[in-house]
Symmetry: C2
Subunit: 425 residues, 2 copies
Amino acid sequence: LLSMALSLSRFGQKLCTHSGILELMDDLGNALSSGSGKIIMLGGGNPAAIPSMQAIWRQRTLEMLQKSPGQFDSMLGNYDPPQGRPEFIAAVVKLFQERFGWKIGPENVAITNGSQTSFFCLFNMLAGEFADGTNKKILLPVVPEYIGYADQGVSKNLFVAQEPAIERRDAHSFKYRVNFDSLEVGPEVAAIAVSRPANPTGNVLTNSEIAHLSALAKERGIPLIIDNAYGHPFPGIIFSEIVPPLWEDHLILTFSLSKIGLPGVRTGIVIANSEIIRCLYAANAIVSLANGNIGQALVAPLLASGELVTICQTCINPFYAEKAHHALACVKKSFDPAWPYFLHKCEGSPFLWLWLEGLACGTYELYQRLKARNVLVVPGKYFFYGLSEPWDHANQCLRINYSQPESTVSAGIKIIAEELAKVWT
Amino acid sequence: LLSMALSLSRFGQKLCTHSGILELMDDLGNALSSGSGKIIMLGGGNPAAIPSMQAIWRQRTLEMLQKSPGQFDSMLGNYDPPQGRPEFIAAVVKLFQERFGWKIGPENVAITNGSQTSFFCLFNMLAGEFADGTNKKILLPVVPEYIGYADQGVSKNLFVAQEPAIERRDAHSFKYRVNFDSLEVGPEVAAIAVSRPANPTGNVLTNSEIAHLSALAKERGIPLIIDNAYGHPFPGIIFSEIVPPLWEDHLILTFSLSKIGLPGVRTGIVIANSEIIRCLYAANAIVSLANGNIGQALVAPLLASGELVTICQTCINPFYAEKAHHALACVKKSFDPAWPYFLHKCEGSPFLWLWLEGLACGTYELYQRLKARNVLVVPGKYFFYGLSEPWDHANQCLRINYSQPESTVSAGIKIIAEELAKVWT
């Protein structure tokens, strides 16, 4: 069929081949486009459809159309600067200044077309190949870590990671802890990165863990990157009490509008020192030219007034908390208590993280068996990267998104239990 | 102020420093946010505000809100697959099949967060450093070429370019021609790329020039990339008669929703053979996760029905044609006929390309003098890259965006004439 043999650069060979995030997003997209009812979608990271949130975004759009048609026209019809929409940046600054007392200004904020693009630029500008021939790394102090980072390096082996300590909490519950005893921040480390709450586990690193990581980064003069996609102050899908980190010059904090119900607008927010922000938006101009304006225009007034934080606390957080509670009850009900299964302590995020200790067939095969039964989940192996040697544990884990309607989640978990019964009974 | 010395990778050093596109987008954004009236904005590539087009997008949004709230919710609240929104891809396929008889299917279409991101992925996956240590290039058969490509290589020297032949048409008009006599498509060339109409010149490569380039690419088994951001079938800002190219397996055709008045939605469209499309959306998953949905949702029905093409022919094209006519008249009126100035034949795009032959101070200095008088244009030097040696002509050229209101354009051109009078009288 092809008249030409496609030959790919190193960039192409790295980015254009199969990746975990591609499989996950393809599963997600195909499930959604297959129509409702057929696929039980417990994979992907699609946020829950929360009716009261949907009403807010419809209302905001209508309000702009009816009350500020000029603003609506300009939102669609004008390019913003690559750093982001000035009034949105001002709203971000206002929120963090007023709520948390952070001493930041507009020079500390950059917007991108979603956090995925924020991380693509940040990781590759900070680490990878250097002019002097050295290779620097992003240190992940805990894996499993977000599947979407795994293939973002334009050069090989961008990540170095370490296994966490596993704290067994009771017969069917555990929690990962940063293993500080063995954590080495070598000279090859350009930055430390964590998601909080963690995707895929729902683990929320404790304040003392964050303080320890921050001190290590500061001591080495490198950034600590904290991905707050599910965290404070929005969407606030955290069920444990945490104090938001203080602002410091060596922190890079990322936020997203996706989990307040707006993944379709692609808006990522980065707060960092002004030098990093300048570098980031310079790269953003080259990679993206400018950002999508819609999310920024819709959300700016709710950020500036602080109303968004209240909405997250009173609407989004309780919605997910109830779903989490229900999903945990489904697992307890469907799974045989004699099985060696363990759920990570559910501290935040829309995910349950299931460890099936000693599972002989491995969770990639389980994922395929479940897919054949129209249940989509994400197998664990994609979340363990940057380790110096393979870890059996990776193939015994599974990510379950519990944000779909309760009937969907319970039906899915029941089928997972049925498949497990085949191998474990 | 900084506690850490920021050290950047090769990627960072390449992408995070000053670039032409960053200067241009910063000028544009600052002009827009400074409020109307102060800055005369003849730089940037912001599309014209066409009231009838703005009304269409407002109407489409209202229609979705009122008639298909579920569709509206899903547009904001669900991730699409990284390849793009299935119904939008279907609409693209339908349009090109029905209007032009192209034998393409959904496997030949990928969506990105704007053409800038399309080119970032395409250029870097096709050219740059290869695993075998060789370096491959993107051949630009004509420079000046789009400023936004210039810095997109994650490795150095991504482009190889050649000067065009200059055809003098009359006392104040010229046209660039591909210099086929000297055009070499060496083994280091991974793809040939052109914009049509060209940004910045408004040059429309003739059908025979395109056929010649296509034959050269096909013979070498490499792609010919044609950037239709201003071209057929949408937005259709072409004033000369051209036949749209036939679809062939070695062509990569890019399109954008920006110039139909939607730069704020960031939607780029790529049509290519299925192997290239698969590579492109695999890279897109890693760089962007998913695309913005709004532009695709707004435009899909107008594409599927073909109505968009009619709107472009009856509304957008005449609007720009009239503006171009007016801008040319302004230049003729304001400029001294004794000056050695030449305008590129205005065949399309929202740009006038001005060659000030022999201008001693150079157009970068002229740009700065104009900026001091609140008139923004784009100096020529940024559009000439990939040449083996500097070309004086580059510093004698200037890009003028004529899509602002007529009073703005005539005021700006008058000030340009005043500054030229200082150096030429």
